[in-house]
């Protein structure tokens, strides 16, 4: 990519030489005309077979009960909640990129937002599975929602779990709306380019008859902007609420005021890591290197680095407060049990993956090397899973009364369920890249338009570009 250097010496957000037409065709042809390739087939195969595993695990679970998992007393939450928090965390990057970066007028978001939003949706779908499945009587889930029951009972609003129900379902709904609204013009494009009548009808009905009228565009833009404005605090709130599940309890290692900010940072951290994990192969396979450029990878790497540092700060603070508070239970847990106790390996790996390895990203060369970046992102994903493992398991297994301490071990069914959701995620993702434009076409055209203006105003362009790209 070094050959197309932008005037300001940084890689461009869009490789030069693209017109409205080329942008449109490149992206929409992936959906409409491009033949199946083996990589997609393999990915889809893996995804759907893991999905079958998921089916098996869930049926077993419903048939026998959560006892098939490793959960016990005192560790009554296990992998299920860990996976839930992990997936929700991953689900943060999408809306963040689309919403916050949109409000900040960051051009480079354009080519990755659609894709990141899709990832968000699918991650939240996976996350949503776990709170349901981990219940003792999942078929009673609706008792957690307000409805006029003959028992004259509504949910217990003080419980963080109820907040969770609302937060996650709201987040899922809003992200879906946001994603769909963004899709409407592109669906219209697909409708208009489809050769096959039926394909055209399918996309057409999804496009709701969008015809790009100027008045529509203006309402559309304000609605889209407002959605972004609403989604921004929502993103922050969701993981805050998730963190309150822990912070609102009395358990040492959970009962910490630092949790909300530190969870949100962690969420963005893992979210961007997952975006990188998925982008790098995608841009290679589907020839999108012109749209998802080194510049994007570079910026995402910077965000990963920054949020990683915040997470590291969180860990440090946990130590400090434990010592500073003089609370014997906190002291024991954080200064003894976690670093040196039964689960010290998980803890140390976590530190390595989340704080140690990301430091490599200080080096620009590494940030701009897709392969290295991809490997680092994998480490971050693992590290963030371990973080949740450490939080959930260590705190519960050694809380207040030594008499009731016990260790926790997952079972094969824990693993199967987790792999199952990964399958679900992969399946949906591969489906998505085949049937919907993975990059927002209309926004790319807009980008092309803006670029023309930049070139027109030559001298000003440099300064302007600086302003825009910072």
């Amino acid at each position: 990519m070094a050959d197309h250097q932008h005037d300001d010496g940084r890689p461009p957000v869009l490789a030069p030489g693209h017109t409205y037409a080329t942008v449109t065709s490149t992206i929409s042809d992936i959906v409409l005309t491009r033949p199946l390739d083996w990589r997609w087939a393999v990915g889809m195969g893996i995804g759907s077979s893991l999905l079958l595993v998921f089916g098996a695990a869930v049926s077993m679970l419903l048939f026998k009960g959560v006892g098939i998992w490793g959960v016990n007393a005192p560790v009554m939450w296990g992998w299920a909640i860990i996976n839930f928090v992990w997936w929700v965390g991953i689900g943060h990057a999408g809306t963040l990129i689309s919403a916050i970066l949109l409000l900040l007028k960051q051009q480079w978001r354009t080519s990755i937002n659609r894709f990141a939003e899709a990832m968000t949706l699918f991650a939240v779908a996976c996350a949503g599975m776990f709170p349901l499945l981990h219940m003792g009587r999942p078929w009673k889930f609706f008792w957690m929602m307000p409805y006029p029951s003959t028992m004259a009972l509504l949910p217990q609003w003080r419980s963080p779990l109820v907040w969770d129900v609302f937060a996650v379902s709201t987040y899922a709904t809003v992200s879906a709306l946001f994603w769909y609204v963004g899709l409407i013009p592109d669906l219209a494009t697909l409708r208009d380019r489809a050769k096959n009548k039926w394909v055209a009808m399918i996309y057409g009905s999804l496009a709701l008859g969008w015809r790009g009228s100027a008045r529509h565009w203006s309402r559309y833009k304000s609605a889209y902007m407002l959605l972004a404005a609403l989604a921004t605090p929502l993103v922050v709130s969701v993981h805050t609420v998730v963190s309150l599940d822990f912070a609102a309890s009395v358990i040492p290692g959970w009962h910490a005021t630092i949790f909300p900010p530190y969870f949100v940072a962690g969420a963005i951290f893992s979210g961007f890591a997952m975006v990188v994990t998925l982008c790098v192969p995608l841009r290679a396979w589907y020839g999108l290197k012109d749209f998802i450029t080194i510049r994007h990878l570079d910026n995402m790497a910077k965000i990963i680095l920054a949020t990683g540092m915040i997470v590291g700060y969180g860990y440090a603070m946990e130590f400090f407060i434990a010592w500073y508070s003089g609370n014997p239970y906190e002291e024991f847990l954080l200064l003894d049990a976690r670093p040196f106790g039964t689960y010290s390996n998980a803890y140390r790996c976590m530190i390595l993956c989340n704080v140690g390895i990301p430091q490599l990203l200080w080096v620009p060369a590494i940030r701009r090397n897709p392969v290295l970046l991809w490997i680092i992102s994998i480490f971050v994903n693992i590290g963030m899973w371990l973080e949740r493992y450490v939080i959930v398991v260590t705190s519960l297994s050694q809380d207040f009364l030594p008499s009731s301490w016990a260790d926790y071990n997952p079972t094969i069914w824990d693993v199967a369920t987790f792999l199952g959701t990964i399958g679900l995620f992969t399946f949906l993702l591969f489906l998505f890249v085949r049937v919907l434009p993975a990059i927002a076409v209309a926004e790319m055209r807009e980008l092309v338009h803006e670029k023309h203006h930049e070139h027109a105003a030559a001298g000003a362009a440099v300064a302007e570009a600086h302003g825009e790209n910072r």
């Binding site: 007393a73 003792g136 078929w139 949910p155």
Partner: protein
């Protein structure tokens, strides 16, 4: 029953016919009638079906038990959407109401009745009250008017109710491997009687366990009169032979000593588990606790010398681990110091380290003469008992703190000898008929006697076995007869102190069981005389006949037979030691250790092996469940480099077994302890094949301990399901300990009893609290001895399921009240002989309960009377409450633990407590069903519930009255008084949860066993 089949006795009946036959309730002139169940009353076929299922199981029981279902049996049955119990959604299925045809007097649907009866074990008895719902006995309480328990019960009596309904109990008579009938046995018995009368009973032998039923003793006596050459042998694996022999040595006659702790200030337990051994333990425990009361002017001081940790050792102020063989040396040393005449001069090298302590003790005894006693355990040889009697005489305890009662002259004084004699005679071919009544010699006799081979002797033409289970002996018997559970039968029990109680049936025999006296009656020619008549007949001869009916009814009501005052027994002779030969103290060869046998704390000698409650009850001190293990001292483990759960080969006198190791702090260094009762092959689906059979190592001449054990570590491992993995308190002081000294004059800047300020920003309660009731509980740690009776009483009362070993291994046990055990003391020394503290932990019913806050569906809320309520049918099972409970008292049904399949077990359920389904959280409710019952009675009578009126299940069972429950608003209630005590403190008080359950500081004598007295 008889009449129904007299028609054609030759045609064998089918099992279902048998069942129906038995279903016809026996005509009773007085008192209520008894049924198996409502469904039987309304014979809508369900009972027939249940019966045939039972029959099918019986068949299985005869031709070996079905492997796969074993052990899993009680646990993971359901695992289906069968939304039983707490479920409830969709249109309700149509239900039937089935009224009586003739309403029996007394029985009001939904109102429990209580009947007095008694259980017996090891020749001693406990008086019981049994709660019966609609003819179903569902809960056992102690009988307050019975001196042994004074209303308390031990774990065994509590668990008997489960044994009653145990579907694996023997259900059919078996003759030569085929199903047969009681009627045909009767015909056999009649022939036998005719034959034996002719032969004067030659070749007839009767084998029982220790018999404490006056009626049965009388029947045996009459049989001996009719058949002079018949012999009666009795053998109980956990017997008092040594004590009787010791008495014989010292006093010339086999007397049985009983100890009265209430009369002593200093008690020395020489390998005597006063608090945990047999029904007498209940009496001792109560006396001990009362004498430890801080208000008592001179709190009792307890010394224990024992080879293996016991409840008594844990309660002792000074506990000294010594090898079982060295207890004699300790006794001798004390005797010498107290100038007991005839005291042996033994080489005291092995107890050198404790010399100073023993000297000090001797001095203290000297000073406390008349207020001190020495207790010798049944597991010590006769010589020590003789020495013990001499010591007690020297201390002036005989007749005071120690009383001696003559043993029954008819019963064999030395049971082991009597069993040996039986075996020898059989081998000599002098025996053709053996009547085994309620015993299981094949399993529980010492291995060297080879009882199984003996009984297979072809000269023995009739081996008749009457037993609750078709067990190891039943498998060999020509005739096996199902025995009636004592809750199904008439009988009487004489407890060690002479009190006699009547047993009355709470329910018709579920499986056509018969009692020993039924069988003996048949041999005495009283064919078909109902059990009730047999007992009445006997007591007619014992009680003044002018008001016999009155006293009979009184006996049935009170559970104690009003006996005419017995003439005072003559004072026993002064003990002499001249006849005693003192064993030469054998120096243990190195590489060899001492083997010690103990009855299992929860399944005793194996008779309770098929009782799931007892199997899952954590054994005191080790908290082991579902297994036995070889207990070794930490020092020995270090020396041999073995660790918990590692399998070792135990080689003792040429027999070997493999056993998993469990390291027991406080174990004497060179001593290995094994518990009896496991390794059963025909106990039932619950008890089969778990643990190892320690009887295989037992010898007739070394019943309790012996040197020369070899211990060879192997690579194998057997996971042991222990419920408590961490033993030190991590300086968190859940148990607060102080000294009597400090307690007597507290207030002088005493730290303990001080309270954290209430730092809640919120008002106490969101709305008006009840002005009448505020329920609360106080647990006096100074009284708790850690026996676990509370746990099992709670299990019985609250329909708590058992989960099985694999679930306990994943720490999913369901007990609502657990007994935590902490070891105290620094360094390796503490591991070798730590101070032990017990702490029962039920739900704290916090007023600021963390669990309530996090429940998303109001499944757990706070009542205006301060109860932390758990509404099972609202619970969706997020388990957040369980996580957020600092005391970890919440229990979750991870799987379908409650067995809804087995019909017998459905009869067991307490109808006042919801049966929980899978996926639902549960926890201690302060026995809210009892609170509500009291409330309802009060309302119906238009009054208020009394401050102490409600008694929780754990409180009722507690032998030491350590648990007190009541109304905190009533300042006169005992719980208010206790919580007002300066010893009162709340667990994890600093969390601001404001628990309603509080604890009272444990007090010690601050002897050298402890370092500085510590305060809250």
């Amino acid at each position: 029953m008889m009449k129904s089949q007299n028609a054609d006795l030759d045609k064998p009946l089918t099992l279902t016919e048998l069942m129906r036959g038995a279903a016809a309730p026996e005509a009773e002139s007085t008192g209520p009638r008894y049924w198996r169940s409502l469904s039987e009353l309304a014979d809508d076929g369900s009972f027939g079906e249940m019966a045939s299922r039972a029959a099918a199981r019986a068949q299985a029981a005869i031709h070996g038990l079905d492997e796969p279902s074993r052990r899993k049996f009680m646990t993971l049955m359901g695992a289906s959407f069968a939304l039983a119990g707490v479920a409830g959604c969709g249109v309700q299925p149509v239900e039937k109401i089935v009224p009586y045809v003739e309403q029996p007097e007394l029985i009001v649907p939904g109102k429990p009745l209580f009947f007095a009866t008694a259980s017996s074990r090891g020749g001693d008895g406990v008086g019981l009250l049994v709660e019966s719902h609609m003819g179903r006995p569902i809960k056992i309480e102690g009988n307050p008017s019975h001196p042994t328990g004074k209303g308390a019960t031990d774990v065994f009596s509590q668990a008997e109710i489960l044994s009653l309904y145990d579907p694996d109990r023997s259900q059919v008579a078996v003759h030569d491997g085929g199903v047969d009938t009681w009627e045909r046995f009767l015909r056999f018995a009649v022939d036998l009687r005719a034959r034996k009368l002719g032969e004067k009973g030659r070749g007839l032998r009767i084998l029982t366990r220790s018999v404490c039923s006056p009626t049965v003793l009388d029947q045996i006596r009459r049989l001996r009169e009719q058949m002079p050459e018949a012999r009666w042998h009795s053998y109980e694996p956990v017997n008092r032979d040594a004590a009787r022999k010791g008495a014989e040595l010292a006093l010339g006659s086999p007397m049985e000593a009983s100890y009265h702790l209430e009369k002593a200030d200093v008690v020395v337990a020489l390998d005597a588990d006063l608090l945990g051994w047999g029904p007498a333990g209940l009496r001792h425990a109560r006396a001990f606790a009362d004498r430890r009361d801080p208000e008592a002017e001179s709190p009792l001081k307890l010394y224990a010398f024992e080879p293996t940790p016991s409840l008594t050792g844990a309660a002792a102020d000074v506990r000294v681990p010594v090898a079982a063989a060295d207890v004699l040396l300790v006794a001798a040393a004390l005797a010498k110091a107290l100038k007991v005449e005839g005291a042996p001069d033994l080489d005291a090298k092995r107890i050198e380290p404790h010399a100073a302590r023993i000297a000090a003790l001797a001095a203290e005894l000297e000073s406390k003469k008349g207020k001190a006693l020495v207790a010798v355990g049944d597991s010590q040889p006769a010589e020590v008992h003789a020495l013990g009697l001499a010591l007690n005489a020297a201390l002036g305890a005989i007749g005071e703190a120690v009383t001696l009662a003559p043993a029954d002259e008819l019963a064999p004084a030395d049971q082991t000898a009597s069993l040996v004699e039986l075996v020898r005679e059989i081998e000599a071919g002098a025996v053709d008929t053996v009547l085994v009544l309620g015993a299981n010699p094949v399993y529980e006799a010492p291995a060297d006697l080879k009882v199984a081979e003996a009984l297979r002797n072809e000269k023995v033409t009739a081996l008749i076995h009457l037993g609750l289970y078709n067990d190891e002996t039943g498998a060999l018997a020509h005739w096996h007869l199902p025995e009636a559970h004592f809750l199904e039968s008439w009988g009487d029990v004489r407890s060690a102190d002479g009190t006699v109680s009547l047993q009355q049936p709470l329910i018709e025999p579920l499986y056509q069981g018969r009692t020993a006296s039924d069988v003996l009656a048949a041999l005495l020619g009283q064919v078909g005389v109902p059990g009730r008549e047999l007992v009445r007949e006997y007591w007619k001869t014992r009680l003044p006949e002018e008001n016999f009916e009155a006293s009979w009814r009184q006996a049935l009501r009170d559970g104690v037979v009003p006996l005419p005052a017995a003439e005072p027994a003559p004072a026993p002779p002064a003990p002499k030691l001249d006849k005693v030969q003192w064993p030469a103290p054998a120096a243990p060869a190195d590489g060899e250790y001492e083997l010690v046998f103990r009855p299992d704390p929860t399944i005793w000698d194996g008779r309770y092996a098929n009782n799931g409650w007892l199997q899952e009850l954590p054994k005191p001190l080790t908290t082991l469940t579902w297994d036995n293990a070889a207990l070794v001292s930490p020092a020995l483990a270090r020396k041999l480099g073995i660790e918990d759960q590692q399998v070792v080969t135990l080689e003792f006198r040429s027999s070997t077994i493999k056993a998993p190791v469990l390291i027991a702090p406080g174990q004497a260094e060179g001593t290995v302890t094994v518990h009896l009762g496991y390794g059963r092959s025909r106990a039932g689906r619950v008890g089969n094949g778990i643990g190892f059979d320690a009887y295989k190592l037992r010898r007739a001449d070394a019943p309790w301990s012996g040197p020369g054990l070899k211990l060879i570590p192997t690579e194998g491992r057997i996971p042991l399901a222990i419920t408590q993995h961490h033993h030190d308190t991590k300086n968190r002081e859940p148990v607060k300990v102080s000294t009597f000294e400090a307690a007597r004059h507290h207030g002088e800047g005493e730290a303990h009893g001080h309270h954290h300020p209430d730092f809640s920003l919120y008002p106490d309660a969101p709305y008006k609290q009840s002005e009448d009731y505020a329920w609360g509980m106080a647990i006096d740690l100074n009284r708790c001895i850690g026996c676990g009776a509370c746990t099992i009483a709670c299990q019985a009362e609250n329909n708590i399921p058992i989960v099985g070993k694999d679930q306990v291994l994943n720490s999913r046990e369901m007990h609502w009240i657990r007994v935590d055990r902490y070891y105290e003391g620094e360094g390796a020394a503490s591991a070798d002989n730590p101070t032990t503290h017990f702490q029962p932990v039920p739900c704290m019913h916090c007023e600021k309960a963390p669990c309530e806050l996090v429940c998303p569906v109001e499944a757990t809320t706070h009542s205006d009377e301060g109860l932390n309520e758990m509404t099972y049918n609202r619970c969706v099972g997020t388990r957040y409450c369980g996580n957020n409970c600092p005391y970890k008292v919440r229990r979750f049904n991870f799987l379908q633990y409650t067995d809804n399949e087995t019909p017998g077990l459905q009869l067991l359920r307490n109808p006042d407590v919801t049966v929980r389904m899978r996926g639902v959280m549960e926890k201690c409710t302060y026995c809210v069903q009892r609170i509500n019952e009291a409330r309802q009675n009060a309302k119906v009578e238009g009054r208020k519930v009394g401050g102490d009126e409600v008694v929780t299940a754990c409180q009722a069972a507690c032998p030491t009255r350590a648990i007190v429950f009541g109304n905190l608003l009533d300042k006169e209630s005992s719980v208010s008084k206790l919580q007002a005590s300066h010893r009162n403190y709340a667990l994890l008080e600093e969390l601001g949860t404001k628990p309603r359950t509080t604890y009272l500081t444990k007090l010690t004598h601050g002897a050298e066993a402890h370092e500085e007295p510590r305060h809250g």
